[in-house]
Amino acid sequence: MKKPVNYSGRRKFLKNLSIFAVGSLALSGCGPVTMKEFLQKNFRTLSKKEKDDIIKDLEKKYTAKYGKEFHVTDEPAAGGVEFGYALDLSRCVGCRRCVYACVKENNQSRDPQIHYIQVLQMEKEKGIDFAHSDVHYNPELVPEEGYFYVPVQCQQCRNPQCTEVCPVKATWQEPDGIVVVDYNWCIGCRYCMAACPYGARHFNWGEPTIPADEINPETHYLGNRPRMKGVVEKCTFCIKRVRNGKYPACVEVCPVGARKFGNLLDPDSEIRYILANKRVLVLKQELNTQPRFYYFFGV
C-alpha cells in the first residue's frame, strides 16, 4: 500500500509541472548547468557589460574544454550591409566540399552529425523537383551523367517564417539580414524547424561532439561557438567570417566557383551584377519567404 505522501507528491508533480521539471533535471544531473547560465537573459536584452562578462566566461570555458585559446566575439552588423548569396546551378558538380568546409568552420557536431548544407542530386529531365531528389548519392565521380546538383542551406529569407513562430524570440533577423539563434535562450521546441520550408534548421538531438584538434577557436556568439544539447542551430553565412569582411567558408572552398557572395546594397558587388545580368530564381518562391539566397545559371 502506498503512503499518502506519495500521492500528494504526484499531484504536485502534475500541478506544478515546470517546477518539477526544473527540480528533477537538477537532481538527475543532466548537465553541468550553472545557476548563472540558467538565469542568463535573452542576448538582445543584455547590456554591454553583461555581454562582455558572458563572453569572457565562455572563452574561459571553451579554452579549458578544447585546450585551445578561444575567442568569442559579438561583432554587430555593419551599417549599409545586407548580405546576399548566389549559387550557379550550371557549375555545381555536387562534390560536397562546401558541406565539410562548413562543418569545420562552424564547429558542427560530428556525432550526431549536423550538416548545414544539403546537396540534392536532381534529374536533369525533371528539373528542380525535391520529391525525386537524393542527398545520399555516392558515385565514384561527380557530376553524374543526367543529373544536376542543388545545394540547399539557410536562405536568409527577408520574410523568415522561422523567427515568426519562435515562442520566446530566441531567433531573429539581424540588420545585415543574417538569421541567428541565441543558443542560450532557445528552449528547443523545434517549431522553427517545422516552419522552415528549406530544412535549414538543425537540432542538437544529443550532446554535440567535435574532436579537439578540429575545433575552430575563432567564433562568434551568435554563430559558430560550440553549442549545447537540445538547441537549434543553422547557417549564418559564417557570421564570424563575413562580419570581418571575409567570404563564407563554402564560397572559398567551392572548386568550381559556383558560390557567390556579397553586399546587396553595394551596386558594384558581384551579387548585384548577377541580379542585373543573369536570370535568377529562388526556391519555393510561392511561399513568399523572399530568400536572399539566389540560384542562377551562369552559362
Binding site: R96, H136, V142, G257, Y273
Partner: protein
C-alpha cells in the same frame, strides 16, 4: 639510332641545367611566378571593376617547365603543324578544338616565353585570361566581375582571383570530374 637519341637527350639535359643555373639570380620572372605570389590585375577603364585590390593567382606551371626559352632557345622554330617529339603529355591530352587548333594558335613561335593573341600581340603568361577571352568573351566578362570562377579573400576588399588556367587545363579545358565527399549519415538506417 637508339644510342644517338640517348646522347641527344643527354646533351639537351646538360644544356638545360646550365641555363637554369645562369638564370637563377638574374631572372625574376620565375620568382614572380612562385606559388603564393600575387599579381594585380589591371582594371583598365572598366567601371565595374571598382575594387583595386584584386589579385590573380600565378600561372600554374608544371615544375621546371618555365621559362620555355631554356630549351627552345636551342631549337629551330618550326611553324608547320605536326606531331611533336617533345611535350608528349600535352599532345596526348590535347583536347581544345584540336581539329582546328594547335600550339602556335596561343604560343608564339619566336618569343617562347610569351603567349600570342590572334592579332599578333604578345602576352605575358600572367595575363593568359586575355588570351582565353578572345574566344570565351562572355566567360571573361563574368570572370572579371567575379561571377565566373573561384574567389577567396574579402567580399568587400582584397580578393584573390584564379586564372582560367588554375581550374581549366588550357590544353584540355573541360572541368574534370571529382570524387565527392562522404554523403550524410542515413539516420533511419542507424535507428532500424
Amino acid at each position: 639510332m637508339k644510342c644517338y637519341l640517348k646522347t641527344k637527350l643527354k646533351i639537351e639535359y646538360l644544356l638545360f641545367l646550365s641555363v637554369c643555373f645562369l638564370i637563377i639570380g638574374c631572372n625574376d620572372t620565375t620568382e614572380a611566378y612562385k606559388l603564393g605570389q600575387i599579381e594585380k590585375i589591371n582594371p583598365g577603364s572598366k567601371s565595374y571593376l571598382k575594387h583595386e585590390e584584386i589579385a590573380v593567382s600565378p600561372p600554374p606551371f608544371t615544375d621546371g617547365v618555365f621559362p620555355c626559352n631554356d630549351c627552345h632557345a636551342f631549337r629551330k622554330p618550326n611553324a608547320v603543324r605536326r606531331k611533336l617529339e617533345w611535350h608528349e603529355d600535352i599532345t596526348d591530352m590535347f583536347n581544345h578544338d584540336s581539329e582546328n587548333r594547335w600550339c602556335l594558335d596561343c604560343h608564339d613561335l619566336i618569343k617562347r616565353d610569351s603567349l600570342r593573341l590572334a592579332s599578333g600581340k604578345l602576352l605575358d603568361f600572367k595575363e593568359s585570361y586575355k588570351l582565353c577571352g578572345q574566344c570565351h568573351g562572355d566567360k571573361l566578362r563574368d570572370w572579371e566581375v567575379g561571377v565566373h570562377g573561384r574567389r577567396t579573400g574579402d567580399w568587400n576588399g582584397k580578393k584573390q582571383y584564379y586564372l582560367c588556367v588554375s581550374c581549366h587545363n588550357p590544353h584540355s579545358p573541360k572541368f574534370k570530374p571529382l570524387k565527392p565527399e562522404a554523403p550524410p549519415f542515413r539516420e533511419d538506417a542507424e535507428i532500424k
